[in-house]
Subunit: 197 residues, 2 copies
């Protein structure tokens, strides 16, 4: 196997196994066997099992940086909230493993949480809170809205749709062709919820 192929294969296999069983639930032997390579290749490319896990996390959470591009592109608070909702749907649609790393790191943080996960979630919530604060200043949103708490409410709404998929199969369609309808409903609930009367 070429060295770059070997590195990608280890990342691919690591993503699947760590998503399913967590950092401590997978051995370095299982990782090398599943990738069809040797333990020494994990050491060579990533230093250790922890190094591979850290590289997987970096890859999973890289998409969170896109919030800056959206923020620069979109000025209006209401439109920014709509873009945030659509972007969050896309992140989950594009990556079936994201939610597992997200919830696993939030509920049972590893040693990499503080460096890789926490800062990017913090950044998204801060950005949303700033956007809501701007909406309040523009008198689009009510003055008694707490920007950070409203930002958490918004993030919660949209992430929970994906978190609850397995429990709500009999209740609601999870087909991607319904996404835009759901995005518009969350947008209506949230923006009416925080709007000036």
């Amino acid at each position: 196997m070429e060295k770059t192929d070997c590195r990608s294969k280890l990342l691919e296999v690591g993503t699947k196994l760590f998503a399913e069983r967590g950092l401590n639930g997978v051995s370095i032997r299982e990782l090398s066997q599943a990738a069809g390579t040797s333990i020494s290749m994990i050491s060579y490319h990533f230093g250790s099992k922890e190094g591979l896990y850290s590289a997987v996390l970096e890859q999973q959470f890289a998409c969170f940086a896109e919030i800056h591009e959206i923020r620069q592109r979109v000025a209006n608070p209401q439109q920014m909230i709509e873009e945030y909702l659509r972007w969050t749907f896309q992140r989950h649609r594009n990556n079936a493993y994201l939610l597992r790393f997200y919830t696993s790191e939030l509920t049972n943080p590893t040693m990499f949480f503080a460096k890789i996960v926490m800062p990017v979630i913090d950044e998204v919530i801060r950005t949303l809170a700033t956007v809501i604060e701007e909406g309040i200043q523009l008198k689009q949103f009510r003055a008694d809205i707490h920007p950070t708490n409203a930002a958490l409410a918004l993030a919660g709404m949209v992430n929970y749709f994906f978190l609850s998929v397995h429990a709500t199969e009999g209740l609601i369609s999870h087909s991607p062709d319904q996404d835009e309808i759901l995005i518009q409903q969350y947008l209506a609930i949230f923006t009416n919820g925080v709007a000036t009367p």
Copy 2:
């Protein structure tokens, strides 16, 4: 150790270890050692490691049945939503491990998901959707609100506050003495969000 003490000790130890590492991340030997008992006591009380995990899950999710008592006690949709929010805060406050089992079973379901977890989440979401439907019929809520999706938005708001605790320590107070303020803010965002104009 008395037999009943031994059973409670195994449930206590199992709750902590399974919450941290999942069903597959804990061995029957670790469980018996942490409980200060023998492997045969796990077999005696629970049949197997899986039996102990299943008993832990039953205990964790038993609180979800309280939704029926709240539903019977509270008729008004808006008030029912407020009671749901307060009850959800209490469930997380009373049980630091609930969210780990909740997210772990939703993202990586075990063989017990379908029997123990799925039905109780389904029941809570159905109840909320029915309450929202009643609010629409009473013209408190808008006719274009999708009851199930609005129920998911409501559940997402309140659960995410607890899910995001580790990532938002620098952004918002998580002190229980702020809970009632947060409950009122979620209530205002949600009920304004679905209200008739």
